[in-house]
Subunit: 315 residues, 2 copies
């Protein structure tokens, strides 16, 4: 297992700069009043393809040799990673195949295809996904880019907090949602090296609290079938992300579904930005834990903005 | 009738700077592709109190003498002007009264009261509103700040396009939604003086097309009871805004309700920002009129972001 380093993050940053946005940091006096903290929202919902995953995907795609690249990239994901890998592949002009269950929302398939990617459908089971994915790789020779348990992806996500600490001075903490742990690992990579005084918190839905339970137990626990409105956070930790989480995260905190939806509406109303339920988990966590966050300067990673407007969680 | 000048706009700008945001300009490669134009979205949805009207309201409030200010300000508005006047009054620490029909949404009343303003209810008729408003002024001696037909308000709104032309070079056109004409008049004031080569378009719902019909007829025509999802645009032109509209606007273009809602979803999905139906009218107009806008660099005023998340027009 190769552990990506600060040097990998710096290489990633130079590599992805032409293909991603330096996203803005937004603040709200009202949200500061409500939380008692100073909050700095790092808006990856404004990122290319609508999510921070454009960073990791771009780093993986543009790090390939020409020979590798010609065979394309492939992944399995019914979320932002598939869309972002398709985006990055389009930028390089190479093929991209995304395996997803036929039950995935049409909007997710359309998003992949909108950037020129190919969608290959499987049954909604791990065994079918793995079988279909193996076929795709055998046929194409495509390079597998895992959604998070991949050192190239983590080094790419790590560029986000490198920007953040240049944009905001004197942060006491950074908080990000945790699913598979790609963003949290990238945050750990950068901050442990460049700003070790900044505490790192991971925020997780109670109903998909495998990372929380893993953290408390000291080993990876995977949920059987987590169900949460924060649909980007259902996936489990893997060995590489677990390495960063257990080593550098100060704490993992959980919130209820209701708290997530309330925080999401609060951000939409006050920051006037469209973001995913997953991205509201950190604010919900901050509001729930004033003893930890009151008086602190806190960076809040808004991970993405790809939400189905026809199925908002409060309707 | 006093016609505000560029000098008034400059005075306003210096006066309101401490109380408003210089709002960002957002772009989207995808929206440029869809429209065939280069679009620069001036995001007043990120403005203080969530709408450009914070500019005009702040200019009116901070232009008062101490003696006038002590008696407070008053207006009738069930929209953003009431909220923004309350915001500005709070910044100066003076009383603000907003008369609105008892039928107005509770959220609008809460928004005014959230900044410390007082809401006085009337019946939902012009006669009741005028009678109740006259009582308020008689009681308090408050200064009336009209939502748009007021030279101080127009000079304040004019600061928006002054920022825009500093933020974006070489604009061919600016397009803004038109209701009472405050934003359009401010745009005319600034651009006719500082950048007369930039064409000014006003965008209006077909179902509230009084400005369109006035423009074509050459005199003000008021609708009887317009009904549109773009609820900020139901009010008619008045003499001062009509002066600017008939003198400086290149054309007024109209769009259907369906086109407005589609454009609104497109902006939410692609720009990832929360904005009002009224603010989608310009993009709908651009998409409907490729002959006018293709190949042009167009500034698009996103007027506000105060939308009821529980009553989105596509649900």
């Amino acid at each position: 297992m190769y552990i990506p380093t600060l040097e990998d993050m710096r290489t990633a940053r130079a590599r992805v700069t032409p293909h991603i946005h330096v996203t803005p940091v937004l603040t709200s006096r009202m949200l500061d009043e409500v939380s008692g903290a100073e909050l700095f929202f790092k808006c990856e919902n404004f990122q290319k393809a609508g999510a921070f995953k454009a960073r990791g995907a771009s780093n993986a795609v543009f790090g390939l040799s020409d020979e590798q690249a010609a065979r394309g990239v492939a992944t399995h994901s019914s979320g932002n990673h598939g869309t972002c890998l398709s985006y990055a592949a389009k930028q390089r002009g190479i093929p991209c195949t995304v395996v997803m269950p036929h039950t995935a929302p049409q909007a997710k398939k359309d998003a992949v295809m909108g950037y020129g990617g190919r969608v290959v459908e499987c049954e909604p089971s791990t065994s079918s996904r793995e079988a279909v994915f193996a076929e795709v790789v055998a046929e194409t020779g495509a390079e597998f880019v895992h959604p998070y348990n991949d050192h190239r992806v983590i080094a790419g996500q790590a560029t986000c907090s490198a920007e953040l600490i240049e944009q905001v001075d004197g942060l006491d903490a950074v908080i990000a949602p945790i699913g598979g742990g790609g963003m949290v690992s990238g945050t750990c990579l950068t901050l442990s090296g460049l700003a070790p005084q900044i505490k790192i918190y991971a925020a997780e839905p109670e109903q998909a609290d495998d990372a929380y339970r893993s953290f408390k137990a000291g080993h990876i626990i995977a949920d059987d079938a987590p169900n949460t409105v924060a649909d980007g956070l259902k996936v489990p930790l893997k060995d590489l992300t677990w390495h960063f989480v257990q080593k550098h995260v100060t704490d993992i905190l959980t919130v209820s579904e209701e708290e997530i939806v309330e925080a999401m509406k609060l951000i939409w109303r006050r920051l006037k930005i469209v973001m995913e339920p997953s991205s509201a988990v950190p604010l919900a966590t901050i509001l729930k834990n004033p003893k930890i966050f009151t008086g602190k300067r806190v960076g809040v990673i808004v991970t993405g903005g790809n939400v189905d407007l026809d199925k908002l969680p409060w309707n």
